[in-house]
């Protein structure tokens, strides 16, 4: 009997979501786009400045109360240089890092740019503890990609 060939059924979804940013997310992105400022939210209980800004503190389970402008320099807390490209993300190699900006108590994730990511050079070029500064896009759209980090 002839061997039947097995096939797959390819399916492609194209779904658009409209996620509400709320007051906190909206204000953060407006200030980033219009004033080139990075704003965190202070928890009244633990007094930490939370970045990205949160409308409430997970730990204390209370509303955050104040906006605090954080610094545009900080310290790398964790990083990875990615050597594999993924759909919708930058061409490899690229670097993402959690950076503790001066004046913030929690680190924020973004790209680190302007550095040679040849594997052999990675340890000389970046590490946990490396000081970095924020660079802003000239044309800002109110998105996380409106800023990134460069070596300070």
């Amino acid at each position: 009997m002839k061997q039947e060939s097995l096939t797959t059924l390819q399916e492609h979804w194209d779904i658009t979501y409209n996620h509400a940013l709320g007051e906190t997310g909206s204000h953060f992105y407006n200030a980033l786009r219009d004033e080139g400022k990075i704003l965190g939210r202070r928890c009244p209980a633990c007094e930490r400045v939370l970045l990205p800004p949160r409308p409430f503190c997970d730990r204390d389970f209370v509303d955050t109360t104040d906006w605090v402008e954080v610094g545009t320099e900080g310290r790398v807390e964790a990083f990875t240089v990615v050597f594999q490209s993924f759909r919708g993300l930058p061409e490899a190699p690229y670097c993402i890092a959690y950076v503790l900006l001066d004046g913030a108590d929690t680190a924020v994730l973004n790209y680190v740019r302007g550095i040679d990511w040849t594997p052999g050079n990675v340890p000389q070029n970046i590490g946990v503890g490396t000081r970095v500064k924020v660079a802003f896009a000239e044309e800002r759209e109110g998105r996380m990609t409106d800023f990134w980090f460069e070596k300070a």
């Binding site: 097995l6 940013l21 990615v82 993924f86 759909r87 919708g88 993300l89 790209y111 594997p119």
Partner: protein, 381 residues
């Protein structure tokens, strides 16, 4: 604790790269059918079913509806969980402990070959701040490894020896996905994929199904074979925001272990367990788990590797199955660790059996960089 709970059946299909010869529904049906046959149980005898699966991986939402026929759930009590595969086991065990149910299937699966897994994982981030930059399992565990490396400066040779150990262990596991063991040199010299992790430091992605049959003490006595008794269970969810966590430690795993050890009466895990199956999301992560589980002080996890403690012939063999570095049915991996620990304490682990293993530990992790974790302590007879 009211009623005791025992694992009376385990079935895993061989883990592999691509189960393209069958549909997801067939794959799960086949594994569940075989477990019932091996255990000598009719579908009608089951009190209920708890399944766990990832809707985005499957491309099927509320999947216990679509999977009802495959999971023996037709006109049965069936609940599906999306939080973690081993949560199906934990809920099933609690249902039996409560006395409400007495013979329960816990089932989890992943057919990762049907979707772009690294892309799909990005949906696990919140969409406002993290998803636009993009992290997935690989990069989250690389970020974790970078923080650990800075804090403790582990010896890269010892990290690589975790890979060599687990991949060699997989040679004895006929179900394992990767059954070729690299040399230490190959691991040390491999190119970075997500710095500081290389391809060898990270699990593969496997298709697979894992099915466990749990029974109350009364029902368990009816089965002929040995029973893996559940002595302790603990689980914890840590904070979502990676930027506020101490990435050099695994606090959710530590919290889960504390609860499970208290329930099981474990005071010195290194002395009291005979085998451990850890859901190691990376080579570094296995060392970090040694520390969170109390096998070693913080920063001293690598000593268990240098002293051979976790080798098959060591005091506490870890990942005798080959672990996730050898077989990783992504979402279902946590349940696999529980299954492998059950096989160890019932003397059913075949070539990968740890001689005389009576007490075993299983761990699992969920979310990015160990946000959540579970610990299960099992004991044989």
């Amino acid at each position: 604790m009211s009623g005791a709970v025992g694992i009376v059946g385990v079935h895993q299909e061989p883990y592999g790269e691509n189960y393209s010869e069958s549909t997801l529904e067939e794959m799960v049906f086949r594994a569940t059918r075989r477990l019932l046959e091996e255990a000598g149980v009719e579908r009608e005898e089951l009190s209920n079913i708890v399944t766990a699966s990832s809707d985005v991986t499957d491309g099927r939402a509320i999947s216990n509806m679509v999977m009802a026929g495959s999971t023996a759930s037709y006109f049965k009590d069936s609940i599906n969980l999306s939080s973690a595969s081993e949560h199906s086991f934990l809920l099933a065990a609690m249902q039996i402990m409560s006395g409400l149910r007495d013979l329960t299937l816990a089932i989890s699966w992943s057919k990762v070959s049907e979707s772009p897994v690294d892309v799909v994982q990005r949906v696990a981030s919140e969409p406002y701040f993290t998803r636009p930059i993009g992290i997935n399992a690989m990069t989250s565990y690389a970020l974790q490894a970078s923080a650990y490396e800075q804090a403790y400066g582990p010896d890269r040779n010892l990290i690589s020896r975790v890979v060599v150990k687990n991949r060699r262990n997989a040679l004895d596991n006929p179900l394992a996905h990767l059954r070729e063991a690299p040399t230490l040199e190959q691991v040390n010299e491999s190119a970075p994929l997500s710095w500081p992790l290389t391809e060898y430091d990270l699990p593969p992605y496997s298709d697979g199904v894992c099915v466990l049959l749990l029974a109350s003490e009364e029902r368990a006595r009816v089965f002929d074979g040995p029973v893996a008794w559940v002595r302790g269970m603990g689980w914890a969810t840590g904070g979502y925001w990676m930027g506020e966590r101490d990435l050099t430690k695994l606090p959710s795993l530590e919290a889960a272990a504390k609860k499970a050890y208290a329930m099981a009466g474990i005071e010195d895990p290194l002395e009291q367990f005979d085998a451990a199956e850890l859901h190691e999301a990376s080579s570094y992560n296995e060392i970090m788990q040694y520390e969170a589980l109390g096998f070693a002080e913080y920063g001293a996890g690598e000593e268990l590797i240098s002293e051979g403690v976790t080798l098959p012939e060591g005091k506490l063999p870890v990942n005798r199955s080959g672990g996730a570095l050898s077989s990783n049915p992504a979402f279902a991996s946590g349940l696999v660790q529980v299954a492998e620990a059950a096989l160890q304490v019932t003397g059913r682990a075949g070539e990968r059996q740890v001689e005389g293993a009576r007490r075993a530990l299983a761990t699992a992790q969920q979310g990015f960089a160990t946000q959540g974790a579970s610990v299960v302590c099992l004991e044989g007879e």
